[in-house]
Symmetry: C2
Subunit: 343 residues, 2 copies
């Protein structure tokens, strides 16, 4: 039995733990909330992320420690890394916490992004101002009207980016093993609704070998530059076929949930294989669509009546704008699923 | 949240519970042993199967009750069935406990079997004597030499069967919903080693539409005759293309484990869909092989290095002749997997 410590016990921790059991991997999660989705299938240390006793318990019980979210005290990861392997490395998690450090990580790996400024400044083509720390799911950012000054649009420390006229938002999920091997899933297209990911199409429509190869090069360059181990996601803007990196996630990612049924190895198993030092799995795949369930629970019977549909509920109480689950279907069934979810 | 009571907390209960969580199904298992494989993912009522307080707790907590093994006190199931839906029905479970009742159930459904006798008698072509109650995995049965009298070969109540010169052992796993809909997986071929299932090939090599259709007719006839709800397996002898029913299992079955990765819907999810009264899932599938891990644990890294391999450990301590897990691979990788497992 291998024990993996996971910082965070949300749906990502839950799906990691579900993937772990058949592999002989037990997950122990640190999670502040009392009703963590992961609790159904993992041991939970209920504690704030900055609780030193929780770190000590993780270090004592686990063979390796990983994260299911990036907003983790870096001091905790650094302390843990002196006692037990921490994968991905703390510096990679730190880069994803801080939009300035993230841009610098992309630059250090030779990866193109939109132009940016810190302290925030305006760009003639249009400007997006983003909170430097703590934003997610479209929160903590504002698009400025032309000529609006940056100051005072958001509280605290912000960076600004040039508004890019992108055609679509893509992402690539990759995994890097302890031995440096990298396995990439296909580039996917992500469609958002009210700032939250609603639908992922895998592979992205009209994905060419060239686009896949350029996206994979970005993931590989970033992973190598960060000496990364585990699953990593990079969000990309497709601007007339040119790829610009937008954000990175040092963890399994919502745009990779389709891999549970759509790929030979799910991103969750892949992450565990990587952090345990085991061989990476096959990323062979079939055309698949994933739709997030946001806010209200679906009609379970109607969803299950869609041929090939797979329901994933996270055990979370419904609440507006809360991701409570997702549904995966063969790509050709997406419209049928959307019709069911709309009723 | 739907709560399903499962009598038995072994690997089948564990895999049912794993399949349940994403569907919003919580499993509560009754299991006498302290280290039940299902405990990692289900609530366990640790009690003997004939413990009346355990039955009462199941009836109180569960929306529906099912079994992961057939050797369950029928009195308990009958008591439960007066209080909560029990699926499959107790009579179907009883038929699988008693080799005489099983043969009679096949006959009542118009399904051909080898000739049999109870009390046991000898057949000119050769005779297998089987314990009437409690045998499994090849235990509790003896093949008689010609002219050997039946008496005294096995303790207790036995039936005998004519030894059939079969070409191979097949099985079919089917599910019947509350509305009477039946969904069949493809016929598979099962290869045994020392009386235990070692390898399943899905679909069975050289499976013809005719053979599939005849096996499916057997499963449908049996399920309808028993007013069955849930997943059901029928073991078949292929005797020169003629099918004879050998045994039935009123539950998910080892020869259906390949469906976790090889079919659109796993037998575990399918069983839960059926007993919860939900629509059955697609049985679309790809050529897949499953190998049981018996006795000793495998070299995890070597198994995971086989492309497309999926490891399923049950959390059981290794012990000779004990099923501790299984591995599923794309059919074309079977030899590669066997080479790894042989070392």
């Amino acid at each position: 039995m291998t024990t993996v410590g996971v910082i965070g016990g949300g749906q990502l921790g839950r799906m990691l733990a579900l993937a772990g059991l058949p592999l002989g991997v037990a997950c122990v999660v640190v999670e502040p909330s009392a009703d963590a989705p992961a609790a159904a299938v993992a041991d939970v240390i209920q504690a704030p992320f900055d609780d030193e006793r929780a770190w000590a318990e993780l270090a004592r019980r686990c063979d390796v420690v990983t994260v299911e979210l990036e907003h983790v005290p870096i001091g905790a990861l650094a302390w843990l890394a002196e006692r037990v392997p921490v994968r991905p490395p703390p510096a990679a998690v730190q880069a994803a916490q801080d939009r300035r450090a993230e841009k610098e990580a992309f630059a250090a790996a030779g990866i193109a992004t939109a132009r940016w400024a810190h302290p925030a400044a305006t760009f003639a083509a249009g400007t997006v101002v983003k909170r430097r720390f703590g934003g997610y799911d479209g929160r903590g950012q504002v698009v400025l009207g032309r000529g609006v000054p940056v100051d005072g649009t958001l509280d605290g420390d912000c960076i600004s980016e040039e508004l890019v006229p992108f055609d679509r938002e893509l992402s690539i999920v990759a995994a890097r093993g302890v031995d440096g091997t990298v396995a990439c899933y296909p580039v996917v297209e992500n469609r958002h609704y009210q700032g939250m990911l609603r639908t992922t199409l895998a592979p992205a429509p009209a994905l060419t070998p060239s686009l896949q190869s350029r996206a994979a090069s970005i993931a590989v360059a970033l992973a190598e530059s960060l000496d990364y181990v585990g699953v990593l996601a990079v969000e990309l803007f497709d601007v007339g076929g040119t790829l610009l990196a937008n954000e990175m996630a040092p963890r399994v990612h919502n745009s990779g949930h389709w891999t549970i049924e759509g790929a030979a190895t799910s991103q969750f198993e892949q992450h565990l294989r990587a952090v345990c030092g085991w061989p990476l799995g096959s990323t062979e795949h079939r055309p698949t669509a994933m739709v997030n369930l946001i806010g209200a629970p679906p009609d379970v019977e109607a969803v299950l009546a869609v041929p090939g549909a797979h329901l994933h509920l996270y055990g979370k109480a419904p609440r507006p704008a809360r991701k409570i689950g997702h549904v995966t279907v063969p790509a050709e069934r997406l419209l049928q699923l959307e019709a069911v979810l709309a009723t």
